[in-house]
């Protein structure tokens, strides 16, 4: 099963997107003591980090693919996972009220922080009429023409088995800084500031 991944992985001409596809579709080796502990694809920068895992082996449950451009992939994300995906140079904005951590694209001469996009990991906003907000933690992503809320780790929507994404009013383009899947260790904890 891992033959095609191995061929692709060792070929310079095999695009990283295909590597990722093969990996996420179960074609990556899982019986050789290696599991994928980290991967970043985005903005033209691609790299793999393969490290041995204690106990040698199963990649099931060890890693998770997250992509701000793919709302469904953000369901169940922890604070640490979201934080690790924030583009370099983005600014964390302190909130004087509310519970959560927002990050935004840096301000420019005529644009405020977050004008190109912002991501927020929130502990919940129970006053709203939407179940995701009432269920606890969520990740909100607004960038370009994309806006959505994804239930985060610990949100009761996930425990109830309900779809964990509420889309905004459009699903348009997202700024490149935020686009691209990351494979990362499944995070622990989950709340902002833990």
């Amino acid at each position: 099963m891992s033959l095609w991944f191995n061929i692709c992985n060792e070929s310079r001409s095999c695009p990283d997107s295909l590597k990722l596809l093969l990996m996420t579709q179960g074609f990556a080796p899982s019986d050789n003591g290696l599991s994928i502990q980290g991967m970043v694809i985005g903005g033209g920068a691609y790299f793999f980090i393969n490290t041995p895992t204690a106990g040698g082996g199963s990649d099931e449950g060890d890693s998770v693919v997250r992509d701000f451009a793919d709302p469904e992939s953000m369901v169940g994300a922890t604070f640490e996972e979201v934080q690790s995906m924030i583009p370099e140079g983005w600014v964390e904005q302190p909130m004087s009220k509310g519970q959560g951590v927002p990050w935004g694209s840096p301000a420019t001469r005529n644009q405020p922080v977050g004008a190109k996009g912002y991501v927020e990991f929130s502990e919940g906003a129970p006053g709203t009429d939407e179940r995701i907000h009432q269920g606890g933690r969520y990740t909100r992503v607004s960038s370009g023409g994309t806006e959505y809320w994804a239930s985060a780790h610990g949100n009761t929507e996930i425990r109830d088995g309900v779809s964990g994404v509420t889309m905004g009013k459009s699903n348009g383009p997202i700024y490149p800084d935020l686009s691209g899947p990351r494979i990362m260790p499944r995070g622990a904890g989950g709340s902002a500031g833990e």
Binding site: G127, E130, S170, G172
Partner: protein, 160 residues
Amino acid sequence: MDRLVSENLQGAWTPDHLKWRDLTPIQHAVMIDALESKPVPLVLVGYVPLVTAAFEASHAWLVGADDSAFWNSKWKYVPELSAVAGSLLALGLIDVYLGNDPLPRAQARLVLADSRNWWRFDPEDEVDPADTRQYPVDENPSAFPEYWIYATEAGRRLGE
């Protein structure tokens, strides 16, 4: 909603009667931002217009297929967002803060009505649509002031 605002200003109506379903789609979007707490310009950033077939037909001259993605294209939504935020303020559903301090209602109304607190033309933005070239470049721009919108207690009690 204009009628409700009007009645509320006359003291004949209270927000306790207001339900989420009474809000227009734009009011709903702004109220969500207020409950989450947002700087005023980010309400604009997060606003993606509802493009229905009818809206598209009537606003085809105004709204491109995906031009809402770009900062310089957001100017067209400032008037309606400003008006909607002003109506929610008048209903007592939101407050405007500068830093940690809530602004008096009259001052908050002026803040929300000032388009420069929402958007400024950015000559360095990636996209510079021809229709925004009419806006003057601010040669000495000041930083966006830290105005945030928050839901009031009445806003947090909006009924289902």
